[in-house]
């Protein structure tokens, strides 16, 4: 848990990364149309911390998570892990690093190969990195991992379809933990689960962080859970980070109108509380042709004509040393 002073404080870093996906390349146009999934994003995940990444569906959260692990190759920018630039590293050279960074998925149904038993799923991770000397040791390791994630050892010989969503999510976590990672991208790990199961998985992730000193990039659209689990939070909109900072600062004092709208849409268990409704209207624009200037300006209640629709705002620290950054020409200030 304690940070190694010799190593950098930042464990996983993306530096101005971009990721475009071609959507169509017709016979006539040689240059295909691009979806700008991630547009120049800089994010740092520190050792032992949880960075929450929130935003609407389709804003590029998952793509960004995969870029951190270089499961996708960026079109621009750099990716660093523990100070090492891995942007152009060959996949074979990347393998030793794969041990240190893992991913947990949203859909517990597609994240496990239906034709492999739980034992095979976890054993594959151990075998790829040769983490067990013999079958016996491997077996003991698998049993220990299953116990660690709250599954019984007799789950080993069974197939994924015999488990519930929450149990499958635990198997996915056991697989990620098998290689003893330091950094885990949690790609909406609880969105597909029942509310009662969500709490169990979140608690499991918190326990593991405490005992193993893990760092998480926690991708979610559930603001309540992120507030609970994340040390810092970043808000993403249409491929860009619009606000970022320590969780309590961002939640108590959202400066970007989009963050404010998201937070006000959060359900509150208090029927007497008055809520601001309809701060944001319309849908998120297409990432194929994002609006000029600030991507949020067509939906923004605080839009300044002539500025917001012309220039992209930079992500700037609001007050010096607060680490609370916002990308807005007309940010909200404390009431």
């Amino acid at each position: 848990m304690t940070a190694d002073p010799d190593k950098s404080r930042n464990l996983a870093v993306v530096d101005r990364v971009q990721k475009y996906f071609p959507v169509q390349s017709t016979l006539l146009s040689r240059t295909p149309t691009m979806v700008r999934a991630v547009e120049s994003v800089t994010l740092r995940v520190r050792r032992g911390e949880t960075l929450g990444l929130v935003g609407e569906s389709g804003c590029g959260k998952s793509t960004l998570g995969r870029l951190f692990l270089r499961l996708l190759d960026p079109n621009g920018g750099r990716i660093l892990y523990d100070g090492q630039d891995i942007t152009r590293l060959a996949q074979s050279k990347l393998r030793p690093l794969r041990r240190k960074m893992q991913i947990i998925f949203q859909d517990p149904y597609s994240s496990l190969n239906p034709r492999m038993t739980v034992r095979e799923v976890v054993a594959e991770a151990i075998r790829i990195h040769k983490l067990a000397k013999n079958r016996r040791e491997e077996q003991a390791k698998i049993a220990a991992l299953l116990e660690q994630v709250g599954l019984r050892a007799d789950a080993m010989g069974r197939y994924p379809h015999e488990f519930s969503g929450g149990q499958r999510q635990r198997i996915g976590i056991a697989r990620a933990l098998a290689v003893e990672p330091e950094f885990i991208v949690c790609d909406e790990p609880i969105s597909a689960l029942d509310v009662s199961i969500q709490a169990q998985i979140v608690n499991l992730l918190l326990d593991l962080q405490e005992t193993l000193g893990l760092s998480y990039l926690f991708i979610s659209h559930d603001l309540k859970i992120v507030e609970h689990i994340a040390h810092r939070v970043a808000v993403m909109y249409l491929g860009r980070i619009v606000e970022q900072g320590p969780t309590d600062r961002v939640y108590d004092n959202p400066m970007h109108p989009y963050t404010r709208a998201l937070l006000s849409a959060m359900p509150v268990a208090d029927p007497t509380q008055k809520r601001l409704h309809a701060l944001v209207e319309g849908d998120m624009p297409s990432a194929i042709s994002p609006p000029p200037g600030c991507a949020f300006h067509p939906r923004c209640p605080r839009v300044l004509e002539g500025t917001c629709n012309q220039e992209v705002p930079g992500l700037i620290e609001a007050t010096f040393g607060s680490e609370h950054r916002v990308a807005c020409w007309n940010p909200l200030v404390e009431p």
Partner: protein, 374 residues
């Protein structure tokens, strides 16, 4: 597919009776499940039964029709299965002999020319005095062998090329796509005809090559699509995140979840190869085999149109063979198709989706869910 009977109550309301019949819930794995689903249809069961019968005939042809006994005692020595081992030429003077169903081999020429069915010759004899039953029974073996070999060959080629194209994409994909487009333009029968005509010594091998060359394309197309689908799954991303190399990902994660249609292709493939082979044999440019195939027998029968029994055996066998393979193939496809599979989800309680309760149970615990594999 879940058995459900509809009746109308005296008060006029329509009632669905729920079957309490226990449905097969396989212990694990999805292959068993597909088979279980498949065999729930009566037609498929019949097809599978006929198919097993054909395989039985092919395997035990020598016990059904042979000029030598199944077992006998010759000169004080016990001779077992001489009709298979051919260790004696003749069972003349043997005692204690156990005879096959029909006492004639497929190549044995007798004095009885063009005899209609009798007890000695259940399907009569042909113009050379050979027993038609023996020829049909022994023909089953060569027909099924050629069919299976050709189907396996083109399905294997299709799976390999389709998987490589889908998984690696890029240049390989383009190359395979062009090849598929070009070769799909040629009908199998035409290619087979041309090959068998221009090759100096047409053999089973040249026939297999001709069929493989044209037929793999369809399999490749299907497998490529399945591979693309399977590659999108999170477990593939997970394997890559764990550091698995591309071959490991392909062989361990993608292919096992993409080859189900290949089984269907083999089944349909055998049926179509049997037809192609029979057509060639009928036209007299088929494969010269020691044992006559059904097509050849039908071709010879053409010249003796009044001897109806010459058509009966080979024709019936052909009908049963092609029909049963097609029925089983179709049932297999239905059982493996994810969209159809959705509708045949099994609820182990024996009730089905009619009860509103069913929709509230999480699918994973309430029902065996095969749709999670692609």
């Amino acid at each position: 597919m879940t058995p459900r009977r509809r009746r109308t109550d005296p008060d006029g309301s329509v009632v669905f009776e729920l079957s309490r019949r226990k449905l097969p819930v396989p212990p694990s794995g999805t292959t068993f499940y597909a088979l279980a689903v498949m065999l729930r249809s009566r037609l498929a069961r019949t097809g599978a039964l006929v198919l097993s019968l054909l395989v039985f005939i092919a395997l035990f042809a020598d016990l059904l029709a042979s000029d030598l006994p199944v077992a006998c005692v010759l000169q004080g020595k016990v001779v077992l299965l001489p009709n298979v081992t051919r260790e004696i030429q003749s069972a003349e003077g043997a005692s204690l002999r156990i005879d096959p169903l029909v006492l004639y081999g497929p190549l044995q020429v007798t004095q009885d020319v063009l005899v209609p069915p009798t007890t000695r010759h259940p399907l009569g004899t042909d113009m050379l005095g050979r027993d038609v039953f023996a020829r049909v029974v022994h023909g089953t073996r060569s027909v099924l062998l050629v069919g299976l070999a050709a189907a396996l060959a083109f399905v294997a080629l299709g799976v390999v090329l389709g998987a490589l194209a889908g998984f690696f994409g890029g240049v390989i994909d383009t190359a395979v796509a062009r090849l598929v487009e070009t070769l799909s333009a040629f009908p199998t029968l035409v290619i087979a005809l041309v090959v068998q005509t221009i090759v100096a010594r047409p053999s089973v091998t040249t026939l297999l090559l001709a069929i493989t060359l044209t037929r793999w394309t369809e399999v490749a197309r299907i497998v490529r699509a399945e591979v693309l689908l399977a590659s999108e799954q999170d477990y593939v991303t997970s394997a890559r995140a764990l550091g698995a190399g591309p071959w490991r990902v392909l062989v361990r994660h993608v292919l096992p979840n993409a080859v189900a249609p290949a089984f269907v292709a083999v089944t349909f493939g055998i049926a179509s190869v049997v037809l192609v082979e029979a057509t060639l044999d009928f036209l007299g440019i088929g494969v010269p085999t020691a044992v006559p195939s059904w097509g050849e027998a039908l071709g010879e029968a053409r010249e003796h149109a009044d001897a109806w029994w010459l058509f009966l055996g080979p024709g019936l066998m052909m009908f049963l063979c092609v029909g049963s393979f097609n029925i089983v193939g179709e049932a297999l496809r239905d059982a493996l198709d994810p969209r159809l599979r959705e509708s045949v989800r099994i609820d182990p309680s024996g009730l089905d989706a009619l009860s509103s309760r069913a929709s509230m149970i999480p699918p994973s615990s309430a029902s065996f869910d095969p749709s999670s594999h692609a």
